[in-house]
């Protein structure tokens, strides 16, 4: 049965429904952000774990030049190794009818019979290749979708210099290519990079690897040491051109997924904390005001024998109802946003299925967090209500004390209108409340910045990457590293203006007990097309001799400039050398190592070799150039800069827009909630005074300007701290989002600051207009008759 006290609660709540909705919405944003981030992270993690387990995703990966199958047994004897699966992996150039430029394909061998022992395929359409059927391949789904290829279709590939027709037998997914990206690139390009699985015997023949392999994947026993297995494996593969094994944590696809998980977890903390904090603050203000205005009712309840606990529960009830309302909206919001986030992931991460799921324990956590915020925000007011001495509460509250403001005491009072004086004195009388309101609005501004600045960063990074650091039109990579003279051949291609070579060598750097496997990049001294930048956007300068490495790589190796490190070349002649670190740079990627190309070739002493080149060309010759590149047997692949950029922008723009929309909505809600509450409370506290002014002849406009002047002043005062807090939160976020392989610059464009201010000011104006309607409808007689 509903008691009268519960009925009072309900009706009081209805009487302040817009305020309650405002608070509940702020709270719901916090709950929504929390649920979105954690549930998406959990969905992603669980999907990943289950998929990896089902497809036997390997723990260790290694590439070699050519190793005999007999080596497999010896690898299997390494303590801790569970399964060993040798394969043949090769890069080929693909010729797709609907694509003028060449695409890159990665061929991976499939066993003649049955499933791969590790990194199993998840077949989506068709079937695996059949033994003996020449030219059959299984295509990865993203590439097939990008070109509309289905089983039965065909495509051409240049395999080891020979053009071959391939027939699509099936379409599949692999745990190895959840995030499918060409090595050395930053964005996936499903149109120009595909994975093709082919029968082993065909690949043996094509790449001259009968009875041999050039790639091995390994799974470990539970509790085995990755490090020890990698060391033993490297020893075994070294004679066969082993390029150094690496664990799953450094596998490209997996690293992108796990970086995303790290960033999702970061998103689960800061934004929800802000929203819940603001909601707690709003509750505090509103319930305090409620208790103050219901002093007499509280005293009456107590005089009739309601005890402190019952009174406390009654006022706590307000918080609970608002919290539960916010929680319900928040769960719906979180599910909606989580679905949006997941559908974005589906575009980037190729899992057999990825569904957003609401987790019961995350719901529990969100419930606890929002109840915590609700109770924290209300506790002070509730305690005040419970401890209110009834006899004292019967007496009217002492009149508020005002005093002259600083402006007036400075003798400048004459400059102020009476309205301005009232506004200033009101703010001065309750400085804490005013400060909290300013903080609330400032937080709204900060949140808008926080929600929008990621777009600034992405834009900045794109600009840096695609226009400052990389100024080529096309990048080509070679199958076999040719002599540097190959540059001249490229220069002969139609329309080519400039060709700059680069060389990337697989190496392992060792410093004491620490080591890291990476690609060492050699760049020409007179480079103008590929110019790596440091964190301060200065071109990284490469001395003629010695290594320049990233800050975090220096940390991993515990090395300083001047230190000598061991450089093990993992390809070609496999020399081991000592080299000095001549520079440590702060850059965005974190684990890069650079050398001057000439210095590198001198050091490795294996000839003046290059791995690829950057080209600029005349747009008019595009078609002819594409055709020529397609025909070059030694060119493994080419990347068109603008095509990659546009592909990325197309995929991202919708997500970014959606993110910005959500954030604007969220911050608008906070700003509206804070300003509206501040104005409503001022109105209810001062209705008597304002009505009196109306009675003695003030116009509606004049009366409104007293109250709204206060709101306006608070909003204006909030702008500067809001921008500062926003920048601070952005700085914290940039640090929280950084992973070993990715650092973000702190970029907040003036337009983002402006946008935040405009949204908050607009929200303030809207809430002021809503309150203004109430001022216009002040019931003068009723207000004057009341004894408050």
């Amino acid at each position: 049965m509903v008691t009268s006290l519960q009925r009072k609660l309900l009706r009081d709540l209805l009487g302040m429904k817009s305020q309650i909705l405002a608070i509940a919405l702020v709270l719901s944003c916090g709950v929504g952000a929390l649920i979105m981030a954690i549930c998406t992270a959990v969905s992603l993690q669980e999907t990943m774990d289950a998929y990896y387990a089902r497809q036997n995703f390997a723990d260790i990966f290694a590439h070699a030049k050519r190793a005999p199958l007999s080596l497999v047994d010896r690898i299997a004897e390494i303590p801790g190794v569970a399964r060993v699966y040798p394969r043949i992996v090769a890069e080929v150039k693909l010729d797709i009818p609907d694509l003028p430029e060449p695409a890159t394909g990665r061929l991976v061998s499939l066993p003649e019979f049955g499933e791969p022992l590790l990194n199993g395929l998840h077949l989506r359409q068709g079937r695996l290749v059949e033994p003996g059927r020449a030219g059959e391949v299984v295509l990865n789904e993203a590439f097939a979708t990008a070109h509309g290829l289905v089983p039965g279709d065909s495509l051409a590939a240049v395999i080891n210099g020979r053009r071959e027709e391939l027939r699509v037998a099936g379409i599949a997914l692999s745990p190895e290519f959840v995030y499918q990206i060409r090595p050395g690139e930053i964005f996936p390009d499903d149109k120009r990079f595909g994975v093709l699985w082919m029968g082993r015997s065909q690949m043996e023949a094509a790449f001259d690897l009968e009875g041999a392999w050039n790639d091995v994947v390994i799974s470990l026993m539970h509790g085995a040491s990755e490090e020890r297995v990698i060391t033993s494996l490297d020893t075994l593969t070294a004679p066969y051109g082993g390029q150094g094994a690496y664990p799953r944590s450094q596998q490209v696809s997996h690293r992108y997924v796990s970086d995303e998980l790290t960033q999702l977890r970061a998103m689960a903390t800061i934004p929800p904390a802000i929203f819940l904090g603001v909601a707690a603050f709003l509750l505090n203000v509103v319930i305090n005001r409620l208790v103050r205005s219901q002093r007499v009712e509280i005293a009456m309840l107590k005089s009739f024998g309601y005890d402190d606990r019952e009174v406390a529960w009654h006022y706590l009830g307000f918080a609970l109802v608002i919290t539960v309302l916010g929680l319900l909206i928040g769960v719906a919001l979180g599910a909606l946003m989580g679905r949006g986030m997941t559908s974005m992931y589906v575009q980037f991460f190729h899992f057999p299925e990825l569904h957003f799921q609401l987790n019961p324990w995350v719901l529990g956590m969100a419930t606890l967090a929002s109840l915590g915020a609700g109770i924290f925000g209300t506790l002070g007011a509730v305690r005040k209500a419970a401890s209110l001495p009834p006899a004292e509460a019967m007496r009217p509250e002492a009149p508020a004390t005002y005093r002259a403001t600083l402006v007036e005491r400075l003798g400048l009072g004459g400059l102020l209108s009476p309205t301005a004086v009232m506004v200033l004195r009101q703010i001065q009388r309750q400085p804490v409340k005013a400060l909290m309101s300013i903080l609330g609005v400032a937080l709204a501004i900060a949140l808008l910045i926080l929600g929008s600045f990621t777009a600034d960063i992405i834009g900045d990074l794109l600009d840096l990457q695609f226009f400052t650091a990389q100024r080529q039109d096309m990048m080509v990579t070679f199958i076999e590293s040719p002599e540097e003279t190959a540059v001249h051949e490229l220069e002969q291609l139609p329309g080519v203006h400039r060709v700059e070579p680069w060389r990337n060598v697989a190496v392992r750097l060792r410093h004491g007990p620490r080591s890291r496997r990476l690609g060492l990049m050699g760049l020409p001294a007179d480079r103008t097309l590929l110019r790596p930048m440091d964190f301060d956007r200065r071109e990284i300068s490469l001395p003629p001799e010695g290594l320049v490495i990233s800050q975090s790589l220096a940390g991993i190796l515990d090395a300083l400039p001047g230190d000598r490190v061991t450089l093990e070349v993992l390809e070609g002649h496999r020399t081991t050398l000592e080299v000095s670190i001549v520079g440590v740079v702060e850059d965005f990627s974190g684990t890069s190592a650079y050398m001057d190309l000439a210095g590198m070739n001198r050091l490795l002493a294996d000839g003046a070799l290059i791995s690829g080149a950057m080209l600029t060309f005349d747009a008019a010759s595009t078609g002819a150039l594409y055709a020529a590149v397609k025909d070059c047997p030694n060119i493994a692949g080419s990347t068109l800069k603008l095509a990659a950029l546009h592909g990325f922008e197309k995929t991202m723009s919708e997500s970014l827009l959606r993110m910005r929309l959500f954030n604007t909505l969220f911050a608008g809600i906070i700003a509206f909630g804070v300003v509206y509450n501040a104005a409503r409370i001022s109105l209810s506290e001062r209705a008597h005074e304002l009505a009196t002014l109306r009675v003695i002849g003030f116009t509606r406009g004049e009366v409104s300007s007293i109250l709204l002047g206060e709101v306006g002043l608070l909003t204006l005062l909030a702008i500067a701290p809001g921008l500062l807090i926003g920048r601070g939160l952005a700085a914290i976020t940039v640090v929280a989002l950084a992973t070993e392989t990715q650092r973000f610059p702190l970029v907040v464009l003036p337009s983002t600051y402006g946008f935040a201010v405009v949204v908050v000011v607009a929200a303030s104006i809207i809430s002021a207009l809503v309150v203004r309607r109430r001022i216009d409808h002040l019931d003068l007689l009723a207000v004057l008759k009341s004894h408050e």
Partner: protein
């Protein structure tokens, strides 16, 4: 009916040397300066005095809303001055009905729901409808306070106060905010409660006209009782005017 003239030796309230001071130093206020007072069961007492005479303080202490600085106040066998906060709450919950000058109805509750605020927590309450019946407001019980006149609101407040069948009804200027005609109506209701339910009634007022309807009139000024007058005959409220 029990009156002061009965030889009943057991007063309902027994106040001895009640002192109440507020503040300290220069701002020290002596609200009560040693009040002795007995009130017998079923008695109708009017505490008369100007504002600042200490009558509200005395009523608050009798109602268990406040504690005296010194002295003792017994309610039956219970020493109210020795009671803990929760014991005072129980005392108010079970024994006392309050009527306030400004009615203190909850604006968001209807007349009936305001009464139910009390019946929800009382042990053997009158049904809310019966309480409202007794103050002649059964017809208007689903109205909100804003839809009722001042006199009607005060009668709802009385219905609310008597719904718990209190032993004592404490009224703080119950007609203070009302015109004569409605004030008299309210006084009639209070007199009827005293007569029909045997509820002990204490009214504080500065309106001397009301004094005539009491069994006894206790006159306070400056925190002390300076005169107690016994009415040989209680005036019917309808004969009162001010």
């Amino acid at each position: 009916m029990v009156t002061a003239s009965d030889p009943d030796p057991a007063p309902l309230f027994q106040a001895r040397d009640l002192v109440k001071t507020y503040g300290s130093g220069v701002s020290l206020v002596n609200a009560l300066r040693g009040v002795d007072l007995d009130i017998w069961p079923g008695e109708f007492v009017v505490l008369l005095g100007p504002s600042g005479s200490g009558k509200s303080t005395l009523l608050n202490i009798m109602g268990g809303l406040d504690q005296p600085t010194s002295g003792s106040l017994r309610y039956g066998d219970q020493d109210l001055t020795q009671c803990s906060t929760s014991e005072l709450t129980r005392y108010r919950r079970e024994h006392v009905g309050f009527v306030f000058q400004f009615y203190n109805l909850v604006p968001s509750l209807t007349a009936r729901e305001n009464v139910e605020l009390v019946t929800d927590i009382a042990r053997e309450p009158l049904p809310a409808t019966e309480s409202l019946d007794r103050v002649g407001l059964r017809e208007r019980m689903n109205h909100f306070p804003s839809q009722l006149s001042g006199g009607e609101q005060q009668r709802v407040a009385i219905a609310r106060a008597i719904a718990k069948r209190p032993a004592v009804l404490l009224c703080d200027e119950p007609t203070g905010a009302l015109d004569v005609k409605t004030g008299v109506l309210v006084l009639e209701v209070i007199a009827r409660v005293n007569r029909e339910l045997g509820t002990t009634v204490a009214i504080i007022t500065h309106n001397a006209a009301i004094a005539g309807m009491a069994d006894r009139v206790v006159m306070l000024s400056d925190g002390a009782i300076h005169e107690v007058r016994k009415n040989s005959r209680r005036v019917d409220p309808s004969a009162i005017s001010w």
